[in-house]
Symmetry: C2
Subunit: 305 residues, 2 copies
């Protein structure tokens, strides 16, 4: 089982409209609403692949109830921890004129120390049965800045590897606990190391924190610096669409590769194919499975010595 932890779980609202005009009244053509946050997206992708995923995180208020209802409808297994605050919403406005995505993120609920401790207890109890614990996204206001250190260590204490996919301070702090895998994008890699060359930056992170580094390079593909070597995988072709869920699809592929004990070379090939399959879908958490199956065995992976 793959346990995904989303401390700052969200209700993701996607609006499709002609064009978003600042300072004007804009009419939405179509509304999609689903539970989100990176870890929920990862679990949704895993469920499409037929993998066994379980979602945990913090939820509260009317928006939290709406998120739980949606998880139930989507058949995504969850064991969530209640909080007094209101689960955040994210609003994505997709312009049908130019394909622009404008994202508006609420900060998330203020979490108390007690609620955070409840989440840690929940993760500790659920990690026992997990092959890997995926720690995804931002920490909500009030969560300790070293929140991911606590969660990585809870997993490690039970011999379970953790994959960390966050940004900013939550990522920088969390690395100190030496998760098994970290998945930064290029901006995060550069922020962590001050290096603009992704290969140098990835090597620096791996040497400094002892974790495998899977770095997403956008349309250039994925770079993985691991104890089985350094791999560079390129997407099957230039795929146009919605890049928002690509990173979560990558994490889903890597996590399921860990659960299946596959080799890194295969994991990263699957990850690049699954990311491309996510870009083809308008909503984060969805993947074009036919596209994934048609391409996953034909990804070019370069090995750097």
């Amino acid at each position: 089982m793959i346990l995904t932890v989303t401390p700052n779980l969200a209700m993701d609202i996607t609006y499709r409209l002609d064009e978003l005009k600042v300072g004007a009244t804009n009419r939405v053509r179509r509304v999609d609403a689903r539970a989100g946050g990176k870890g929920v997206n990862v679990a949704r992708v895993l469920r499409s692949l037929g993998a066994d995923a379980l979602v945990t995180g913090l939820v509260g208020g009317a928006t939290g109830r709406a998120a739980v209802d949606e998880l139930d409808r989507a058949g995504i297994a969850h064991q969530l921890t209640p909080i007094a605050g209101e689960t955040r919403k994210t609003v994505t406005c997709m312009s049908e004129v130019d394909g622009d995505a404008t994202i508006i993120n609420e900060p998330g609920p203020a979490v108390t120390e007690r609620e955070w401790d409840d989440l840690c207890t929940r993760v500790r109890d659920l990690a026992v049965a997990a092959d890997i614990v995926v720690l995804s996204g931002s920490l909500p206001p009030g969560a300790p800045v070293d929140g991911y250190v606590q969660l990585v260590e809870l997993a490690a204490a039970q011999g379970i590897p953790a994959l960390l996919d966050s940004s900013g301070g939550a990522l920088a702090e969390g690395l100190a606990a030496r998760p098994a895998i970290v998945k930064p994008n290029l901006t995060e890699l550069t922020a962590l190391t001050g290096e603009s060359d992704p290969a140098v930056a990835a090597r620096t992170v791996r040497q400094r924190f002892g974790c495998a580094v899977v770095a997403s390079l956008g349309s250039a593909g994925l770079l993985a610096d691991t104890d089985e070597g350094v791999f560079l995988a390129r997407p099957p072709e230039v795929v146009r669409g919605n890049p928002i869920g690509a990173g979560d699809a990558c994490v889903a592929a890597v996590a399921s590769g860990i659960a299946e004990h596959s080799l890194w070379r295969q994991r990263i090939a699957h990850a690049v194919a699954l990311s491309a399959a996510a870009v083809r879908c308008p909503l984060a958490g969805d993947v074009d499975l036919d596209y994934y199956r048609a391409h996953r065995e034909h990804i070019t992976v370069e090995v750097t010595p």
Copy 2:
């Protein structure tokens, strides 16, 4: 009692952020969420004035539950009709850099014929005890295009005056039922009559549909064409702020004037002062009561013969 009917009731979400950038990820500083739709705003203003207001309309889904919870917390009396669809949200992004308001409106739930009939029955039952029925805002998808004709006639059958504040087809159709009062803005007046001069346009509407016309002219004030004469009231001063709730405050003042049998000259003076008091508040439905009380007796009202 003033009955306000909001067929396309909403949950109004207000985001304060530095600046809304299209195509980027925007972080929200502060979130305010409250029940909305024009009729709810009118009732909220009436409640601040100490007037007896009752809200009805259609609500459904998780967003509908959130709206009902908020009405309860705000102490706004309501008797709503449940629907299977999901109540819409409106999102207003207030830029703190330049004061721009960007509004993103969901279309609203698809309403069935049965649900619309339930609302009509509800309005008929509640109108008995009302001094005036206020009909506000858009009609949700699925509602009959002559929805406001039905509601005006239900009120008229019981001898209760109706005030109609809508736009587009819902307004144009609804006028055929000859509501007692209509409150268009300048754009709507011109669309209805093809006339750009507000005085001529207002007279045309009053002659054609036999209703008093209260036209909001933005920062230029209010024009009322009534059976007591034609009045032009100007705001006490140029008030900067959020114009979104000004029209609803105007409707609240006119409706409470009707309930109190005041003269049109006083109604329109109060309406212009209350609109200015609404502009001073960042959220629609709020009014600066001190400002209103300080100015309402000092509004200049010109009488046109």
